[in-house]
């Protein structure tokens, strides 16, 4: 089922504008992530789709039908909450079968349905247990099973992985992606973890202050973040965002950024202030001075396992802040020594104001 949001606005009593006339289309069978920092309105958006929040204005349509005025129970959506919301006094079977019980499905049939779904999620051995006797991963699967058992049109997941520990989270992530793939049910999930969004979703909406800043496929969001905000939010190591200035010289326009002279995208006037973004992964380290590199002193080395994150402190006067570079293992520079961070020009992003201006037609 498709989900379509039109001009959705939610103002809470007290004047907090959680959603600001937001438009969004989510396609049939899509695994869609709402990503953003806390307080950006992503959970309010999810709850508005569920019907748990009544929008101040705007409309929600599921499968083409306007459901804005329908109560949550009649929207045919299932939600998995961050805390799983399993009923502690019911065993696993009763928990999974609960929505069917409310829909007055006869006991034998709903228990058969619960057992079937539980079998698919490897919960068959646990049907008689109470939630208190289950591990976190098992509880999560029971919550998923409860959502699946009533065959809804749409799944809504609120931070589905955040209550699991790091190792289990990776397993659950793979499991979740495969499950959604098999079921083919339109799924919207909320996360503040960019890695989770990139790994799971077909498409991601990055949200900030009640608005959607960018919608796109994970690779698009990762490689061409539309604003410096998205750029800083996406990526396991934060992107280097450095202030720079356009200087039009004899050999054409160039960017002067933190001591480096770099190629400028066309069409920028002389003296224009820009923000130059380059991921640490797309920056190389040079031991010899270069003109197209940021000079600095090696301040910190952070071992990432197969690579090392190097933080350079800008040596140049007037240059502010730090530049980070990821180097392969075995190539770490000595701490305290001078080094030059060389951005790969085809990976560089140039922002003017809040908009991406270059490179045009770069890697998607």
């Amino acid at each position: 089922m498709t989900i379509s949001l039109r001009g959705l606005t939610k103002v809470f009593p007290g004047g907090v504008r959680a959603l600001d006339s937001l438009d969004l289309e989510i396609g049939e069978g899509e695994f869609f992530a709402l990503l953003g920092p806390s307080g950006c309105g992503k959970t309010t958006l999810l709850r508005s789709i569920a019907g748990l929040e009544t929008p101040t204005s705007g409309a929600v349509a599921i499968g083409g039908a306007d459901v804005t005025a329908l109560p949550p129970g009649r929207r045919d959506v299932a939600m998995v909450f961050q805390d799983y919301a399993l009923f502690p006094h019911m065993d696993v079977t009763a928990n999974i079968a609960y929505p069917l019980r409310i829909k007055k499905v006869p006991r034998a049939r709903r228990e058969a349905a619960a057992a079937e779904v539980a079998g698919r999620l490897s919960l068959a051995e646990l049907l008689g247990r109470r939630p208190g006797q289950l591990s976190g991963g098992q509880q999560q699967r029971v919550a998923l099973a409860r959502a699946i058992a009533c065959r809804p049109k749409v799944f809504l997941f609120d931070e589905p992985l955040s209550n699991l520990d790091a190792r289990l989270r990776l397993e659950a992530r793979t499991f979740l992606k495969r499950l959604q793939d098999e079921l083919g049910v339109t799924t919207v999930f909320v996360t503040h973890d960019q890695g989770e969004a990139l790994a799971l979703a077909h498409r991601i909406a990055v949200m900030d202050a009640g608005r959607i800043t960018q919608v796109g496929a994970p690779s698009e969001i990762f490689h061409r973040p539309a604003t410096p905000f998205v750029a800083s939010f996406i990526g396991s190591t934060p992107m280097n965002l450095l202030p720079g200035r356009v200087v039009v010289g004899a050999s054409g326009p160039a960017l002067h950024v933190a001591g480096a002279v770099l190629p400028a995208p066309p069409g920028l006037p002389d003296g224009e202030e820009v923000v130059y973004g380059i991921r640490p992964e797309y920056t190389d380290l040079s031991a010899a001075p270069r003109e197209d590199a940021f000079p600095g002193t090696v301040a910190v080395l952070e071992n990432l396992g197969t690579s090392t994150l190097v933080t350079l402190e800008s040596a140049r006067e007037g240059g502010d802040g730090l530049v980070q570079v990821v180097v392969p293992e075995g190539q770490e520079p000595p701490v305290g020594g001078a080094a030059w961070a060389v951005p790969r020009p085809e990976r560089a992003l140039v922002y003017r104001g809040d908009r991406l201006v270059g490179p045009r037609g770069g890697p998607a």
């Binding site: 569920a50 019907g51 748990l52 109560p71 949550p72 129970g73 009649r74 929207r75 959506v77 299932a78 939600m79 909450f81 961050q82 805390d83 799983y84 919301a85 399993l86 009923f87 502690p88 006094h89 609960y98 929505p99 409310i102 829909k103 247990r129 109470r130 939630p131 208190g132 006797q133 289950l134 591990s135 976190g136 991963g137 509880q139 409860r146 009533c150 209550n163 699991l164 520990d165 289990l168």
Partner: protein, 349 residues
Amino acid sequence: MTGPAAGTDAAGLGRARAVGFVLPALVLIGVFLVFPALWTIYLGITDYRLTGLAAADPRVVGAENYTTALGDDRFRTSLWLSVQYVLGSAVIGQAGLGFAIAWMLRGRRGPVRRLVEGLVLLSWILPSSVVAFLWIALLDRDGGTLNALLGTPGAAWLLDHPMLSIIVFNTWRGTAFSMMLYAAALESVPPSHLETARLAGASTLQQLRDVVLPRIKGHILTNMLLISLWTFNDFTPFLITAGGPEGRSEILPFYVYTTALRGGQLGFGAAVSFLILLINLVFALAYLRLLRNRNRDHDHDHDRDRDRDHEDAALPGPGPAAVPGPAAVPGPPPAPGSGRAPASREAAG
């Protein structure tokens, strides 16, 4: 409030000093609680009277007072009226209304909530004598506020419906406690559980049955225990109906008061008091047993199958909501001679 720490000596006082700390409290309890209670039991088997020969030289009459009481129609009527009073004003009235108000105010903030809470609390904190006077003024046959409001001049509420009057009175008076207790209990119900039920299409009643009540069962039992004991021992409505007319609102505490002090049969009154104490004890034990069963269920859940992952500390288990201990059980029933019900409500308010 008393008693040395069981088992280990956490404070490091040593036995002698620990006893020293506790002793004053134990002495006070002994003098003012245990001794009168034992004295009441003793009086109950005598023919002790307020005046006359038996006042100077009471005789031990054995179980005669008890057989008389149990065979007395007036006692049995009193007991039945007390049961009505407890069921009507505590279980249905206070607990029911208190829960309804708490449920409606749940999640609400702002002036409406503060106003309702304020009004309900006001009836709880006003002194009994003041409240009784207000209710007499409200229900009065001539010039009563209620008759003026309803346009029923001359309706004698206190004469025609004495039990209903004191049941409504006590409901009004005591709802605040249940409301506050249930409001706190409802806070412990995770919103996500209610929302899961809503998303499944559960009606309000189904949400109450499947999500709320199982979660706050312990609070309900504790509340029922406290308010039924308080109500069973409540003496305040005596100030409104004095048990009348013709004993039609004579609940047990009034019966004790009238027989022991007005009728002067102190021994007999003591015997009835002891019966009230036994009834209270049965109440309390029944509730405590229910509570314990419930807790045992929970422990059972926790102990079995401990093959959980280590992240479980952060997960929502069926953590038994903190239930106020039964330590707040009110004091003994009215002893003859005290002339009034235990002041547990006043003390709590």
